[in-house]
């Protein structure tokens, strides 16, 4: 289960990146545009919503709780410095998927309590895509966190994130993790569509 998180490079805009992911067969995308204005976010988001309808994909937006209904997004992802999940739930109601970022088992447990619907857990390794990273987890970190999740009978999908490449996926999926979030690995590939095909084969 792969979530693609939008990203841009010299060759590709945010929207290009999402279009590539959907063309490649990814069914779950997150629009993340950290430094964009609300206007830009709305304009790109409207187009992403249209593309996701066309491809039958799930559409999550990063951070912008106030734009979820406007964009008819399926959900919102909240990072460590974004609005608390419990508050977003109060505003958005029960029909919206809310994802939360976690670095430890304690983060996962508290997001679960706060009614999160999935967790992005990481970083797997050091990455240049995101600033202000928490300590890296590696395979051992995931194994230990997922063991605790299981023992606590917390039934929430946990997606690994942070510096993951196609080759890492089989190992990570062995740890009890439910899916993988990717961004940089796809766009940095020489041929992003081929890279997506490789990734979807590994998942």
């Amino acid at each position: 289960m792969i979530q693609f998180i939008s990203h841009f490079t010299e060759q590709h805009t945010y929207l290009d990146s999402i279009r590539l992911a959907l063309e490649g067969g990814i069914k779950w995308v997150q629009l993340r545009m950290k430094e964009a204005s609300e206007e830009e976010f709305l304009s790109v988001g409207t187009e992403v919503r249209r593309l996701c309808n066309q491809y039958g994909a799930t559409f999550i937006i990063d951070d912008h709780v106030e734009l979820v209904h406007k964009l008819k997004a399926d959900g919102v992802h909240l990072g460590k410095n974004d609005m608390p999940i419990i508050e977003a739930r109060r505003i958005l109601g029960n029909n919206v998927i809310i994802g939360g970022t976690a670095n430890t088992f304690e983060d996962i447990a508290s997001h679960y309590q706060a009614t999160a619907n999935y967790i992005g857990c990481g970083p797997f390794r050091f990455t240049t895509t995101k600033k202000g990273l928490s300590p890296t987890l590696g395979l051992e970190g995931y194994r230990s966190i997922m063991q605790k999740v299981k023992e606590a009978a917390i039934d929430i999908p946990v997606v690994a994130i942070g510096g993951i490449t196609a080759e890492d996926i089989p190992g990570i999926m062995q740890t009890g993790i439910s899916g993988i979030a990717l961004s940089g690995a796809i766009l940095r590939a020489e041929n992003p569509i081929e890279e997506i095909n490789r990734i979807l084969k590994y998942e």
Binding site: T58, R89, N94, I97, I98, N117, Y118, G176
Partner: protein
């Protein structure tokens, strides 16, 4: 038969994903489902069969914690 939903074993008679969605009262909106780690769009639920031991991941709003 027994299937695996979000790493928990459940017993169901649902023959396909669409029937399972009904059984679990999944909402019309705000839900994403993966079978054996592959996301399945809602339009394909009806034609996606479930078998003993199938692993299902459901990301849904409305019943988080």
């Amino acid at each position: 038969m027994n299937i695996n939903v979000n790493n928990k074993t459940i017993t169901t008679d649902a023959a396909n994903l669409s029937a399972l969605a009904q059984e679990l009262s999944l909402p019309e909106k705000g839900v994403a489902v993966a079978i054996e780690n592959k996301m399945v769009p809602r339009t394909l639920w009806e034609q996606t069969p479930l078998e003993e031991g199938t692993s299902v991941v459901i990301i849904k709003a409305a019943c988080g914690g």
